[in-house]
């Protein structure tokens, strides 16, 4: 069923009894041309673009939980393309362009809101660093704007401008950045993929990868063996666990990142704002809740829950930036498992096994990449050749000395 204003009206008059499920609940077939492990945002978008753009039929997405149960439903919904390095910026800009056409493409309202992101800076050195990043964005054809302290004071009067340690001197603005409703992204891609014939199989955990003569022949799952022509891994925080089933050695550590939402308040914060004295970022959802987060907890974890010391630290950062936050009550907190790579940048590449493809290392920036990650991964799987904007995201870049280290933190995943 195609959604439109007319379909909403028609169903309203029929008591909303005419809606049908957005995707099927198929049983697995014995064999697929392509199996994608992981029914998160990236797995679903990969399936969607494989079917729609690259004409691959007979695809399955295997998800061990339910759709939207992982990081695609746990992030802080920020969409942006304000990166520094040439290996990253064209990729994320490609992603933002896909975001801008996504609702029409999917016929699904992902509630993309291009409200702008403002990265605050607090010292002369940090200003120079941010302006350099802004200039790097311009060189890739992406607009960035420097906001002075006076401009910020009229735009965001609630900020703590005269903090003794971290006074706010200005900010870097990307106007086209914003937020999107993350559940709708998962559901929209799932529905789109399903309409192109993709089998989305939930509650189907991969327990082993069967190989013969050096190639993958299928996967063992909680619903039995399923054969495949090509296998694509998009398992996010569990990449190392699934990768080990195929004997892959990966530059990945799993870490937990927490996010928080407050009670709903009247419209107060109209942008995405990030704090340069730490890693704090905040926006306001359409329901009125303030959605925010900051650093990962710092130790490796596969548990989808964080610890209170980090929660306290995040709150402190928030209140340092916006003192008024201290009067707002936090409603919920949750954690997601991040596949932190050794340079803070992702991997979309082939593996030493011919028909096994890998998509991982999204650290805590995977949500904004969802469309481009799927598109580029689908390109790689269908053509066995990387998409031009994802050429730098190679698995072997570490040993070859071509890391894409945005923060210059070195091979220390808990610092990215």
């Amino acid at each position: 069923m195609r959604y439109s204003a007319l379909s909403i009206l028609r169903n309203a008059f029929k008591g909303n009894l005419g809606w049908t499920p957005a995707w099927r609940q198929p049983e697995p077939k014995p064999h697929y041309d392509v199996i994608i492990v992981g029914g998160g945002g990236h797995g679903l978008s990969t399936a969607y673009y494989l079917a729609k753009e690259f004409g691959v039929r007979n695809i399955a997405v295997l998800e061990k939980g339910y759709l939207g149960s992982g990081n695609v439903g746990r992030n802080t919904t920020i969409v942006r393309s304000n990166y520094l390095l040439p290996g990253n910026e064209p990729f994320y800009e490609f992603s933002l362009k896909l975001w801008e056409g996504l609702e029409q493409d999917l016929n699904y309202n992902v509630m993309l809101s291009q409200r702008g992101i403002i990265n605050l800076y607090h010292s002369d050195g940090q200003r120079d660093d941010y302006l350099r990043r802004g200039n790097a964005m311009w060189m890739e054809g992406v607009a960035a704007e420097n906001l002075t302290r006076a401009q910020l004071k009229s735009m965001l009067p609630f900020l703590n401008f005269d903090h003794a340690r971290y006074p706010i001197l200005g900010g870097l603005l990307q106007k086209r950045a914003g937020t999107a409703r993350h559940d709708a992204v998962a559901w929209g891609y799932a529905r789109g993929a399903d309409r192109h014939g993709v089998d989305i199989i939930q509650h189907c955990e991969v327990t082993g990868i069967r190989r013969e003569n050096g190639v993958v022949t299928g996967v063992e799952t909680s619903k039995g063996f399923i054969g495949c022509g090509k296998l694509a891994l998009a398992a996010a925080g569990n990449t190392s666990v699934v990768g080990e089933m195929a004997g892959l050695k990966l530059p990945i550590e799993s870490h937990v990142l927490q996010a928080f939402v407050t009670e709903g308040i009247k419209p107060a914060i109209h942008h995405v704002i990030t704090y340069g004295g730490g890693h704090f970022y905040i926006s306001q959802s359409d329901k009125g809740g303030l959605v925010f987060g900051a650093e990962i907890d710092g130790f490796t974890s596969y548990a989808q829950r964080g610890n209170l010391a980090t929660a306290e630290h995040v709150m402190e950062e928030g209140v340092t930036m916006i003192p008024g936050l201290s009067r707002v009550r936090v409603l919920r907190a949750w954690g997601g498992v991040m596949d932190m790579s050794m340079d803070g940048s992702p991997i979309i590449d082939r593996t030493p096994i011919d028909n096994l493809y890998l998509n991982c290392g999204w650290c805590y920036g995977g949500f904004k990449a969802t469309p481009a990650s799927g598109f580029c991964f689908a390109h790689l799987i269908a053509k066995n050749d990387p998409h031009p904007v994802a050429r730098a995201l190679r698995l072997d870049r570490f040993e070859r000395g071509y890391e894409i280290d945005e923060h210059g933190a070195g091979p220390q995943p808990n610092l990215h």
Binding site: P251, S254, F299, A309
Partner: protein, 92 residues
Amino acid sequence: MASLITCPHCGTRPKEEFAVRGDATPLRPDPAASDEAWADYVFVRANPRGRTFEHWQHVAGCRRFLVVERDTVTHEVYSVTDGAAFSRGRMA
């Protein structure tokens, strides 16, 4: 994550006194070892879902590097060893 870490030098302390460096299991290769061995050491991680060994530094205490053995799913801490003792144990 367990809230308390028992430092072999300082006793049971809140975990906020400690800084996490990372995986303690990779063995530093010989300086003349192959590029591949060095790349493995610097970049590749086993990243187990379960029992792991990590370097934690007691920055607000004795400042010694410790090796904390814990579970990455349940966060249970099994043992805490002084880093030097841990290394000597592995060399032996």
